[in-house]
């Protein structure tokens, strides 16, 4: 609407002309700590638990399957299309539906499901964070609408930190329209500063690390 008007005002304010070159920006600053994989797993699980999330370290797909089945206990569940979940046999658990490709069907299922299961593209050990990129395998609403979210992640996806994430993924926009970092269950303290979980997003989260 006012593109030229606004840009012109910006340039005038700065004493710059259209197309004028700029000085180099300050160099990118990423500090990646060196942490071995076991320590990363331990840190991730510790941080998730500190945020009132639940965790499970599964040595085998069968263990992961067993844990998820016990959490779900027959609840109606929607799982993402992540191949990793199929590999773990998650999709065979009673009550789990998957394979949605239609936005409207997905939305309806998510809004009535008791739980949502996803994998994750990465996890960040130092903050207990899941990193989820929207894709054909992972829809946005599965980790958002149901009151319970379970994420099953292979251990080699666990990065040390946000710095490492941006080091290996400097251009998330090239891959996805939505990258979400999930750090703990949904919460608010808007009423008298009292902490309440599960406001809009899931109030209960489980992180299962396989391997």
């Amino acid at each position: 609407m006012s593109r030229d008007h606004v840009l012109h005002k910006v340039r005038t304010a700065l004493g710059r002309t259209a197309g004028q070159a700029i000085a180099e920006p300050p160099p990118v600053r990423l500090r990646i700590p060196v942490v071995d994989q076991d320590a990363r797993v331990a840190s991730l699980l510790r941080k998730v638990e500190a945020l009132a999330g639940k965790t499970c370290r599964a040595a085998t797909p069968a263990e992961a399957h067993a844990y998820v089945a016990s959490v779900l206990d027959g609840k109606s569940t929607i799982a993402s299309n992540a191949p990793f979940l199929r590999e773990c046999g998650i999709l065979e658990i009673a009550g789990v539906r998957s394979g949605q490709t239609s936005a409207s069907e997905l939305r309806m299922l998510c809004s009535t499901a008791d739980a949502g299961i996803t994998s994750a593209d990465y996890a960040l050990a130092d903050t207990g964070t899941l990193v989820m990129l929207s894709s054909r395998d992972e829809a946005r609403l599965i980790s958002l609408l149901p009151p319970v979210h379970i994420a099953v992640v292979p251990k080699d996806r666990i990065l040390t930190s946000l710095d490492e994430l941006f080091a290996i993924l400097p251009d998330p926009a090239a891959q996805t329209s939505s990258m979400v970092l999930i750090t703990g269950p949904s919460r608010t303290a808007d009423i008298e500063q009292i902490l309440v979980r599960g406001v809009h997003g899931p109030g209960e989260i489980h992180v299962v690390v396989l391997g």
């Binding site: 609407m1 006012s2 593109r3 008007h5 606004v6 005002k9 910006v10 005038t12 304010a13 700065l14 710059r16 004028q20 700029i22 000085a23 920006p25 300050p26 990118v28 600053r29 990423l30 500090r31 949605q100 239609s102 997905l106 939305r107 809004s111 929207s134 894709s135 054909r136 829809a139 946005r140 609403l141 958002l144 946000l162 710095d163 941006f166 400097p170 251009d171 998330p172 926009a173 996805t176 329209s177 939505s178 979400v180 970092l181 750090t183 703990g184 269950p185 949904s186 919460r187 608010t188 808007d190 009423i191 008298e192 500063q193 009292i194 309440v196 406001v199 809009h200 997003g201 899931p202």
Partner: protein, 472 residues
Amino acid sequence: MSADFDDKIHNTLANPNLQLAIYSATGRLIDHRRHAVTREALPDYQELRTQANALKRHVIENLDHYLEQFEANVLAHGGKVVYCKDGAEVADFILSLAKERGAELIVKSKSMTTEEIDLNERLHHHRLESVETDLGEYILQLARQRPYHIVAPALHLTRYDVGDLFARTLGVANETLPEKQTLIARSVLRRKFLAADIGISGANFLVADSGAVVLVENEGNARLTTSAPNIHIAVAGIEKLIPRAQDLAVFLKLLGRSATGQALTVYTSFLSGPRRESEIDGPQEFYVVLLDNGRTKLLADRAKRQSLYCIRCGACLNHCPVYRKIGGHSFPWVYSGPIGAIITPQFLGVKHEPSLPFASSLCGACAEVCPVKIDIPQVLLDLRAEVKKTELREGTGWLERLAFRLWAWVMCHPRVYELAGMMAAAMAPAENGGWLRRVPPGMNLPPVRAWLDQRDLPPAPPHSFRDLWRKR
């Protein structure tokens, strides 16, 4: 100061419940932040601040370049960019888009920028329902009030206030447990999310090299607002730009910790454009509204344009001893606290509330905690000089100016100064060395009365230092 400002301050100071609420809420946030930036928790905290300041300085000083880069990348990912010079244009854009799409319901996530332009009111006027979805903002929308604090908008309300409010506006039973109140809001808002045609968000950051909008939150309402409806509109001030996605490694570390002491907020969304072809859900239309609304005015002032570095963390509010007493609603505009005190006069003109830059003891606590190192006290001092220049130009405040001219003259003439000192001492003798409770005769001036309103006055000693030094 204006009678309005004075009254609001007085009423807030006189309300013990409000004093307690403000003090404890900010106190908690102060503690949380402190634990998150200790040497153990974040050893490179100071370095990160320096880097953040340098990045913001660079972007702001080359803002046109980064706006264009941002725009090109949004377009490349299938989105659209709309530049708006003011709130009216933003509303016009949204209204015409809503009309074209037959949209009736909008859900909104928290955005100070949209408060700044009174967006909800503008939309409401045209019968478009726009529902706030952040719990605190939802409560305020029902109560028809402005936010009290950037991060804790409803800190001035009790659970009983909320219970009454929900009962009155939603027709539900009067619940006073925050957990139950939250569930009520959750259930009402869930229906709105799923039925909404448009989701409007703000933006914590705009990433130039990605054409991305970054949103941080704890509740999940921003995610829902930007994922459930078919249209997403992000409204952001032009100053929200950062150069690269990788710079988020600096900014995200500072924002959560400075605001609430969290290493990362529960959800951080990095959104670039409508859903891609292979993606299953997400909006199919994506718009970023870039708002001026006076920011170019601030941009033009070399010394004060650092005011635009703000990432809206709220740390300055929490640490400000004045804010902690007068609260958010005493301030004349939507932005309160130290940041509000420096940008309000720049956006609205110093005459809007000329005493606002003076409502500070210049203690510097704000500058100490600002993650992007805005020198707030320096900007306040510059604004004070501007206020006085304006008064000079307009011929107002001449009495005070005269007093200071006289004062300066005395201070430049040592013998006159000595004489003045002796005369003043003669008027304010010590009462047995005790401090004075009442105005000494001959000193019935407004500043003396104002001082005595709150504390006792020191008595003048029988001899000044220089007298004693001479006799030594």
